[in-house]
């Protein structure tokens, strides 16, 4: 059984942090950051909680789908930076929007949104859900070493959501894979205070082998687009929109060059949000949808890649089987 995305929403914190502001306390510059990443500014939480952002994105998605929280059969949240280790971020969203359906989180790094779509697809396939909220919410600012100019300039906070409804002929392809590797991209867990624990506890901050992740990103995008195209029996040139994980503009450039994609078909949101981990893909979808750029029946290819090393890709037909 298939599903379609029938509504989207997003929410960013108010506080804008420009490259210039980062240069005031890091040995970096606007030019250095822009030429290496394509990022000019990002949003960072000050008084907002992630629960608030995730719920605001969810409510906006419900509104755009013309649906009520009481009509949801499932909430899946993708996050790795929740306000709580327990309960799941999805439970906090359910409480705030007044939903009574099951709610749980998936943790799949920057590929989390596509992994969440896959979890939802199972519920549709088993006929256990007609309408699902997928929300991706990330407060990256809490896991950054703000003295490390190589990583903290790359990320931002934000949340975005999509309402899925049973029906339609999509997804034409939905693929998950894990090239198991815990050292290229890692955030150590909490230290706790067990008097018995003799293991090491580095701070819970992003550790990244940038060159490896860069290559992994480029290769993942290229191979997933080709694989989805083959699986769905459509040419890459027949795909109308490409929404890739927004980690670095140069990953996007290198992948697009290899695939021969024209810039106009590829979503770019990095400049004013930075990398919001799993929230990047639904955020880009929401921006495209609100700009009126996604038309009924168009093909939209998603590729998420990140810690895991997880890769999730989906080829969707945009449009709404409202029933």
């Amino acid at each position: 059984m298939s599903f379609s995305i029938v509504g989207t929403g997003s929410a960013l914190p108010d506080r804008v942090v420009t490259n210039g502001e980062l240069s005031s306390f890091l040995d970096t510059s606007d030019e250095w950051i822009r030429t290496r990443t394509g990022i000019s500014e990002r949003r960072v939480c000050t008084t907002e909680t992630l629960d608030e952002l995730a719920s605001a994105a969810a409510e906006q998605a419900l509104e755009s789908a013309g649906a009520r929280a009481s009509e949801l059969d499932l909430i899946v949240c993708s996050t790795t930076t929740s306000d709580h280790l327990l309960p799941a971020e999805a439970c906090a969203v359910a409480e705030r929007i007044g939903a009574t359906c099951p709610a749980f989180d998936v943790s799949a790094g920057c590929a989390g949104f596509v992994f969440a779509l896959d979890a939802a697809e199972g519920w549709f396939a088993r006929d256990r859900a007609r309408r699902v909220l997928v929300v991706s919410a990330e407060k990256m600012s809490r896991i950054l070493d703000w003295s490390d100019r190589a990583t903290c300039v790359l990320f931002g906070d934000g949340a975005a959501a999509a309402i899925l409804e049973q029906g339609g002929d999509g997804p034409l392809s939905l693929r998950l894979s894990t090239r198991a590797n815990t050292s290229d991209l890692n955030v150590p867990g909490i230290a706790g205070s067990s008097p018995f624990d003799r293991t090491e506890h580095p701070a819970s901050l992003v550790e990244m082998r940038g060159r490896s992740v860069f290559r992994f990103g480029v290769m993942s995008v290229v191979s997933e687009v080709q694989a989805m195209s083959a699986e769905a029996g459509v040419g890459v040139s027949d795909i109308d929109h490409f929404v890739f994980h927004q980690a670095n503009e140069r990953i996007l450039d290198a992948a697009c060059e290899r695939l021969g994609l024209e810039p106009g078909r590829v979503a770019h949101t990095l400049a004013d949000t930075g990398n919001m981990s799993s929230a990047c893909i639904p955020y880009a979808l929401d921006r495209l949808a609100r700009a009126g750029e996604l038309c009924e029946g168009e093909l939209v290819a998603l590729v998420g890649f990140g810690a895991g090393l997880d890769v999730g890709s989906a080829l969707l037909r945009w449009g709404s089987p409202r029933g």
Binding site: R36, G210, R211, F214, R215, F216, V218, M219, A254
Partner: protein, 76 residues
């Protein structure tokens, strides 16, 4: 005569932005001619395609000579 590894690596490096007209020798320092760490990875990836080899992405050659030697070692 087949092109040397040096010539083929230089041709790949020259595809990077801003390096088209730069004279490259074995001693040319990559960062001094404007090739940053990500551009080096891009060149490494292009070399993998060109030579059909797999290069450790964390390898970070500092000069053209080091880059050529790294490729030559993998070709043996």
């Amino acid at each position: 005569m087949a092109e040397s590894t040096f010539d083929r690596v230089c041709a790949i490096l020259k595809e990077q932005d801003g390096l088209e007209d730069v004279e490259l020798t074995r001693d040319t320092n990559l960062s001094e001619v404007g090739l940053d760490s990500l551009a080096t990875v891009e060149a490494v990836m292009a070399c993998e395609d060109e030579f059909g080899i797999e290069i450790d992405p964390e390898s970070n050659p500092k000069t053209v000579g080091e880059f050529v030697d790294m490729v030559d070692k993998l070709l043996k």
